[in-house]
Symmetry: C2
C-alpha cells in the first residue's frame, strides 16, 4: 500500500501541498523552488519523477498539483510533522518556536505503527502548538473558523487559535508579548491613520500591534455576553 519515498521526495510533496493549499491554481515551478530553497531546474527534474510515479499531475510550463495518492501521502506527512511538534511541546517542554526544524527531521521517520502510537500517547490531539489542525489517521482535518484579528471591530473579544507564519522572529515577538494559542484578545481601539490596533491580552496587558501583525493572528470570535 505505502510506497517508500525519499525524504527529498516527501519534502517536494509537502511543498506542493502548501502551494495548492494557499492559491487554488496550479503550483508554479518557482513557487516550489522558493519554498524549498532550491533551483527551478531541480524542481522540474523532480516533477518529472513524481509525475512518473503518479503522485503529481504535472503540465509542462503550466504547473503542478497533487494526485489523489500524492495528496494522501502529503497529508500523512503533515500529520506526522504536527504530531511530533505537539510531542516536543507537550511532553518535552520545548517552546513553539523551537520545534519546527526538529519536526522537519522527525516527520521522515518511516513507521506507521510509530505515528499511531504517538497519536495515542498524545491523546489524539486535534491541533498542533501553532494552532494548525492535525489530520487523523484516515486523513481527516478538524477545521475551525479562523479570522484575522485585523477583521475584528472595536469592542469585540476573541481567542487566538492560529498564526499565519511560523518563523522564529514572529513567534519570539509574540512570546515577548505573552501571546500564545488560547489567549483572549479584546480590541480596544484602531488607528485611522495606520490601522494599528490596541489589544487587551488575557484581560490584563495592553499592547499595540501593527495592521500587518493583526493580519497574521488568527482568532475565533467570542459571542458577547
Amino acid at each position: 500500500m505505502d510506497i517508500d519515498l525519499t525524504a527529498t521526495e516527501e519534502n517536494y510533496l509537502k511543498a506542493i501541498y502548501k502551494a495548492n493549499e494557499s492559491s487554488s491554481s496550479l503550483a508554479s515551478t518557482n513557487t516550489i523552488a522558493r519554498y524549498l530553497s532550491t533551483s527551478a531546474a531541480s524542481v522540474t527534474d523532480m516533477m518529472k519523477k513524481l509525475s512518473q510515479k503518479n503522485l503529481v499531475i504535472y503540465q509542462k510550463y503550466h504547473g503542478v498539483k497533487l494526485s489523489q495518492e500524492g495528496s494522501r501521502l502529503a497529508t500523512a506527512l503533515v500529520r506526522k510533522h504536527r504530531l511530533w511538534e505537539t510531542f516536543l511541546v507537550e511532553k518535552l517542554g520545548f517552546s513553539w518556536e523551537e520545534v519546527h526544524d526538529i519536526a522537519e527531521q522527525l516527520e521522515h521517520v518511516r513507521s506507521n505503527e510509530l505515528v499511531d502510537r504517538l497519536d495515542q500517547f498524545l491523546d489524539y490531539p486535534k491541533y498542533d502548538p501553532h494552532g494548525d489542525p492535525i489530520p487523523s489517521a484516515d486523513g481527516k482535518f478538524t477545521l475551525r473558523e479562523r479570522i484575522a484579528l485585523s477583521n475584528l471591530s472595536i469592542g469585540e473579544s476573541s481567542i487566538l487559535v492560529g498564526v499565519k507564519h511560523h518563523d522564529k522572529v514572529f513567534l519570539d515577538y509574540l512570546n515577548q508579548n505573552r501571546i500564545n494559542i488560547g489567549v483572549t484578545m479584546n480590541i480596544l481601539s484602531k488607528s485611522l491613520y495606520d490601522h494599528s490596533i490596541r489589544v487587551l491580552i488575557e484581560n490584563e496587558t495592553e499592547i499595540l500591534v501593527t495592521d500587518e501583525t493583526a493580519k497574521n493572528l488568527l482568532v475565533r470570535k467570542l459571542s458577547a455576553d
Copy 2:
C-alpha cells in the same frame, strides 16, 4: 564543536565502534562491510573520507579504529539510539523486539537539545530495553557485571540483565517463554550430553534452553540467602 555528519557517515562510525568493542584489534574492511550489508569497496571509500576528517585512524590494508573525536561521536550516537529505544518501549508501549529499526532512524535526528530533553523526560535511564548501558551526556557508561547463563552452576540464582543479540527471532523466542530483562533465572539441572539447561523462570515456569541460547543470555548472579 559538533561537525555535521551524514546519516551514512554516522552509521559507519557506529559499525567501527561495535567492531572495536568486540575484538580489541583493528576493525577489518570486511567486518564493517558485513555489519552494514555493503561492499568492501564502499567501506574503503568511506574510510578514506572519515580518515580525512580525522574521525578514524586508518591503515591501508590493516584496518581501522575510531579517533578520540570519532569515538565521542559514535558514543553520542549509541546514546541517542538507546534513549529512543527506551522511549519507544517505556512511553509508547512497543515491545523490545520492535524498536531497533525505528531507533536506527531516530538516532540520526540532529538536535542536542532534543536528546537531552528526551533523557530528562525518561528520567535519565541507565539501561535500554535490551539491558545495554546508555551513555550519559558526557559519554560515560554505567557498566555492570554480566555473565552468560551458561556459566552458572546447578542451584545458582540470577537475574537477566542483557542479551547478546537483538534480532527479532531470538527476542520473539524469549517473549514466548516470558523471558525479559529483570526476570529471575534458577538453574535446575544441566545435561551432560548436550549441555542444555533446565531453568526456572520467576520461580514459576520451567523451561529447557540450549547451550547456545544460554550463552546469549547475560545475567547477574544472586548471592544465595
